[in-house]
Amino acid sequence: MIAALLRVGWLTLKRDRFALILTFVLPIVFFSVFALVFGRQGRSEIAPIPVVIVDEDGSDASSRFVEGLLREPGLRARAAEDGAAPLDRAAAEGLVRRGAVPVAIILRSGFGAGFGGSFGAFAVPPPSDDAEERGAPVAIAELLVDSADPMATPIVSGLLQKVAMTAAPDLVAERGIELFSRFGGELTMQQRAAIATMRAALRPESAGGRAAPGATAAGPFAGPVPVRTVDVLGDRKTSGMVGYFAAGTAVMFLLFSMSGAAGTLLDDEADGTLERTLATGVGLARLLGAKWVFHALVGVVQICAMFLWAALLFRLELLSRLPGFILMTLATAGAASAFGLLLAGLCRTRAQLSGLATVVILIMSAIGGSMFPRRFLPEWAQAAGNATFNAWAVDGYERIFWYDQPTWSIWPQLCVLVGLTIVFLALARLLARRWDAR
C-alpha cells in the first residue's frame, strides 16, 4: 500500500518538470549564487576601493606619493576629474557626499615636509595651522570618508602607509636618519656616504618603479603618513542607515507581496473567473492594467508604512525628503507590481509562481543590495546587481536618505525603474497571450 502511494508521489513529481527544476536545480543555483557572492569575502577578490586624490602640497614627495597611490592595485584611484584639471578638496568632498566614492585622500599642504618624519612623539613641527591635539602625530593627509562603507576607511588608511613605504622609501629613510642625527648625534662622513648610496638604491626608479610586493605599510606608531579621518556624512549616520535598511527590506518584501498578488491571475484562471471576466468584453490589456494599478497602490502603501514606522521608531528624517521619497516610492511600487505580473505570466500554477518567485527574489535581493550594501560584494556581483530591480530602487532611496541628494539627482534611478516597468508590463502582456481568445 505504501509502495503504491510512493509510486503516485514519484509519478507526479516526475511529470511536473517545473517541480523537478524547483526541487533539484534551483536550490543548487541559489546556493551557487550565494557561495559566489559571499563565500570569497576576505580573499583576493575584494573589489579595489574607488578613491579620489587631492594633492594640496605639490611637492616632489606628494607627487611621488600620488603616483604610488595611482599604481596601488588595492585602490581604483584618480586625481583628476575625467582627465581634466586636478581635483580640489571641495570637488573631492562633493564626490564623497554624492556617494561616488567612499574615500577622498587629501595630501595636505606640508605633506612633503612632514612625510616620513612623524613617528609618534618624534613628529616634526606641524606643517599647517590646524589644531592637532597636543602630542598626537601631525596629520599630513586627510581621509574624507563616507561611513556608509565602514570597510573602506581602515583599508585605505593601511594602504596609504604601504604606499608611503614603497613609493618613497628613500624619503622615509632620510627622515629616519634626520631623527637619528637629531637625537643620536652627527654621523661620520663615511656613514653619510654609505647612507647616500643606500638612499639612491631605495629610490623607486632604481627598483624599476614598482612597489615591492608584500611590502607592509603600518609602522609601530602613526606610520610614515599620519592620517586624520573626517566623516563627511557622519551627522546623518543613524538616519541614513535606517533609511537604507528600510529601503532594502521594503523592496524585497514588496517583490514578494507583488508576486503573491499577481498570483490572483492564476487563481482566477483556475476557478474560471478570468474566463468569465474576459467574456464580458474587458480586454486583457485593461485587465492587466487594472491589476497593475491596484497592486502598485498596495505597494505604495506598503512602502509608506515601512518608512513611517522607521520615522516614528528610528527617527528617520522622512518629512524633509518627502518629494524624493514619493517619487522613488511610486516608481518602485510600479516596477514591482509589473514584475509580479511578469512572474505570474511565466507560471501556470500558484505553486510554480511561489517557488519561482522565492528563488528569483532572494537572488535579486542578495546581489541587488536589499540584504546588505552592494559595496561589500565582489566587483562582478556589484556589476550583476545593476541588472536587478532592487539595485536601482535601493540606490535611489540611499541617495535620498543617506547622501541627502536633491530630488533631481535620482533621475537615473527613476528612469531605469520606469523603463523596467514598461518592459515588465510588455513582457507580461506578451506572456498573457495564452488567455486571449484563440
Binding site: 476557478d271 474560471g272 473567473t273 474566463e275 468569465r276 474576459l278 464580458t280 468584453g281
Partner: protein, 306 residues
C-alpha cells in the same frame, strides 16, 4: 437572433468544430446535446468571443461578428454567459460578486442595487447575501453563478451545464429560475448532459458530434426520425412461454418476453389476450415510450458521457 454558419476550429490535428451550424430564434430555448469532446463548449466559447474561429460566421441580433473588438463587444454585451465552472470570487460575498459582474456587464452604477436585490430574490440568497461565497453549498453557488450571468438582463443566455453536480432540490430550484427567465422573454442556448433537462426545458434540440450538428428538431421529431414511434413492451410471465404461442414476441429471458408496438391502444390488448388464452399467467407489464436517449444513441452511436 443567433446564427452560426459553417463554424470551423482546429486545435492541431483535432477538429473541435468541423462545419457546425445552428440557429436560435427569438424567445426560443435550444438544447445543445453531444458526447464529451463533441465541440459544444468550443461552440459556446466562440459565440461568447473566447474562441477565434478558423472560418465560419456568427450572427448576433442580425449583425455578423466581424472580429472588431469594440463592435463585437457591444453585441456580446447583450449575451449572458453562465459557465460550467463556478466562476465566482470565493472571498467576496454574494452581494459583492453580483456587484462585480453586474458592473463588468455594463449595468449602470445607479441600477446596480435594484438589480442585485432582484438577483438575491431570484436566487433565494437574500439571507446569505453578506456571507462569503466560499462558505456556500454547491447548490447555492450554482444559483449565484446563474444570477451573475443574467444580472444585466441579457437577450440571449448561454448556459453551459447549469445543474452539473447539484442535488435534486437545487436542480429543481434552478429549473424554476430558468422558468422565470423564460417568462421574461430571454432566448436560451443550453448545453447539458441531462437528457431529461433538455427534454423538459428545450423546445428544440441540436445534436452535435465530431464538431458538426448531426440532427436538429423537437424531441418528437428527433425520436421519430431515428428510433421511430414504436413503444417497447416487456411482459413478465409466471412460467416460461410455451412454444408456438404469439410468435411476434421476443424471448428476453426465461420468463420475460418483449415486443415493439406502433399503436398501444390497438395492439397491446390483443397481445395480452392471446397470452391469457394460451394459459399464461401475466405477472407484470412494462411499457416504455421512445426516448431522446434512444434517439441520441442512434444519432451518435455512443452514450452522452462517452
Amino acid at each position: 437572433m443567433l446564427a452560426v454558419s459553417d463554424a470551423r476550429k482546429r486545435y492541431g490535428s483535432v477538429a473541435a468544430l468541423d462545419g457546425c451550424s445552428l440557429r436560435l430564434e427569438t424567445g426560443e430555448w435550444l438544447g445543445l446535446l453531444g458526447p464529451n469532446g463533441a465541440g459544444k463548449t468550443t461552440l459556446v466559447r466562440a459565440i461568447a468571443g473566447r474562441v477565434a474561429l478558423d472560418s465560419g460566421r456568427i450572427e448576433l441580433f442580425g449583425s455578423q461578428l466581424a472580429g472588431d473588438r469594440r463592435g463585437d463587444a457591444a453585441l456580446r454585451r447583450r449575451l449572458g454567459i453562465v459557465p460550467q465552472e463556478l466562476a465566482l470570487h470565493p472571498t467576496l460575498t454574494a452581494r459583492e460578486n453580483l456587484e462585480v459582474f453586474g458592473r463588468l456587464h455594463g449595468v449602470g452604477r445607479g441600477d446596480i442595487p435594484a438589480r442585485i436585490d432582484w438577483a438575491l430574490e431570484f436566487t433565494e440568497l437574500g439571507d446569505r447575501q453578506r456571507d462569503l461565497v466560499r462558505t456556500f453549498s454547491g447548490g447555492m453557488k450554482r444559483r449565484l453563478n446563474l444570477a451573475c450571468g443574467v444580472l444585466h438582463r441579457p437577450e440571449i443566455i448561454l448556459l453551459d451545464e447549469p445543474t452539473v453536480g447539484v442535488d435534486p432540490q437545487s436542480r429543481q430550484r434552478i429549473w424554476e429560475m430558468l422558468g422565470d427567465l423564460r417568462a421574461g422573454g430571454a432566448s436560451l442556448l443550453l448545453t447539458t448532459h441531462h437528457l431529461d433537462e433538455a427534454q423538459k426545458l428545450c423546445e428544440r434540440i441540436v445534436v452535435i458530434d465530431h464538431g458538426r450538428a448531426v440532427a436538429e428538431g423537437t424531441v418528437a421529431e428527433l425520436v421519430a426520425r431515428t428510433v421511430g414511434r414504436h413503444h417497447e413492451v416487456v411482459i413478465r410471465l409466471e412460467q416460461p412461454l410455451p412454444r408456438g404461442i404469439a410468435p411476434a414476441l421476443i424471448r428476453l429471458d426465461a420468463t420475460a418476453v418483449g415486443a415493439r408496438i406502433a399503436d398501444v391502444a390497438e395492439e397491446l390488448p390483443p397481445l395480452l389476450d392471446s397470452l391469457v388464452r394460451a394459459g399464461c399467467t401475466i405477472v407484470d407489464v412494462h411499457l416504455s415510450a421512445p426516448t431522446l436517449h434512444a434517439a441520441f444513441i442512434a444519432l451518435t452511436g455512443r452514450e452522452l458521457r462517452e
